[in-house]
Symmetry: C2
Subunit: 264 residues, 2 copies
């Protein structure tokens, strides 16, 4: 299946646009798990088991696994192996480096850890992302417009051309998408009017939309702004942190269910 | 010691501005090492032993270790432990993400793998790098102007203010540097005239300068353009790939010696 077919098939299977962000660390999981051999992996498996009929995608945020060192990458490997084949996977890495280094990142997150897609930073330009643009079955979500305060520092800069930098980035990514139809955009959920404008600018690109739940974005407004475009709506803390007691998996399921019902 | 003191002390000790880039993978080391338990680690240790009186810094490019999976992070840990205390270390990660995720990267490359500094992408703005700006003893080199073709896509864009994007980035990083004096810039070596202009714009920032050797930058022109600023001049392939036979460590030493003599 192609990148787009994989997303569509996962969304159809569970009638869901919900992507669950697995931002797991020893400090944000229930205490009773800390005696497990690999608590992060045990936690992720329980979350996956409790939500695999609700989510269309899982997105481990690799920073959390790096911060846990070698055991973190063991957890990442085990988590990926535990995700059912029909669910879409995203390695949230936000890397970006020159060609030879980018080749290595592609080996890492397409072969060593075989994810369906990754997130990348576009900042270093075309040759820095080229190793990820070669296969139509593996995709890339590029940072388009992020929902953090610091986005103002560069992404909103006015260019001499009259565009904002994030608009120029969007246009460039539409070009990068042409050969293999395997690019998408990360667009924050906290500013629906801008999400709507970017959706109009790039109707063909799938969007990965973080910022719902703990970060304050409204699901209803996001769905309206996104119109009929393909969107993966990411929720992390509001699901994975729904309870820190014995019932954490069940609480995660209940929270996920609410989001999915809102989407349906 | 502060970030700047650490760099100066390492440079004084070996009378050298040479940073050796450890971009090590199974496919670029001598074949006779492949039977070792961890060939990447064995290779790095031999390179360090052969050059630790010549280099002022070592810079593992973390992409290469990620591409090697869990064994790669074991190699990274062992490499870091093998670098003498008096030599400066840089984790070349080029990460950049929102605050909570950036916190995790800081844990990963300041605590779990205790490097003296990292490279980061500035693209997501101030709150995305803030976790790295808290300590005056640990530094950050931000992508300023890179030497790859793709740099043209965004870094050279003309802004409405009259600046180029990389000039705006440089100015912003001078601001970020103020509280703790712990920021630097990555500036490619292949365009000395631009290096000179950025040096004039940011005389106080240490530069990490890749692009010498295999990428074609001239050492003499770079030294002249950098003037009296603090610079770490990175060479990877021209040293670590000097020979792929039994004599690889000796060949690396000879290559490193030539660069250091050119600097002295």
């Amino acid at each position: 299946m192609t990148f787009l077919e994989k997303i569509k098939s996962a969304q159809l299977k569970n009638k869901s646009k919900l992507c669950i962000g697995l931002d797991t660390s020893l400090s944000n999981i229930p205490e009773h798990l800390l005696s497990e051999t690999n608590p992060v992996l045990t936690f992720n498996k329980a979350i996956i088991d409790a939500t695999k009929d609700l989510a269309c995608a899982y997105k481990p945020n690799v920073a959390y696994y790096e911060a846990y060192g070698i055991k973190g990458f063991e957890a990442l490997e085990g988590t990926l192996a535990h995700i059912p084949e029909y669910i879409f996977t995203i390695a949230d890495i936000k890397r970006g480096d020159i060609g030879a280094t980018s080749d290595q990142y592609a080996i890492a997150y397409q072969e060593k850890f075989p994810f369906d897609s990754v997130t990348l930073s576009p900042y270093m330009g075309s040759d820095s992302v080229e190793p990820f643009l070669k296969r139509d079955d593996l995709g890339v979500f590029f940072l388009g417009l992020t929902s953090n305060q610091g986005a103002k520092d560069f992404q909103y800069l006015d260019l001499a051309s009259g565009k904002k930098l994030y608009e120029e980035v969007t246009d460039k990514i539409r070009e990068w998408n042409k050969p293999k139809n395997n690019c998408g955009l990360v667009v924050g959920a906290t500013k629906p009017s801008e999400l709507k404008a970017i959706r109009e600018r790039a109707p063909e690109l799938p969007f990965l939309i973080p910022g719902i739940g703990a970060q304050g974005g409204s699901l209803e407004e996001v769905l309206e702004a996104n119109d009929s475009g393909i969107a993966l709506i990411n929720v992390s803390r509001a699901i994975c942190g729904a309870s820190r007691r014995m019932d954490f998996a069940e609480a995660a399921r209940m929270a996920a269910m609410k989001f999915v019902e809102g989407m349906r």
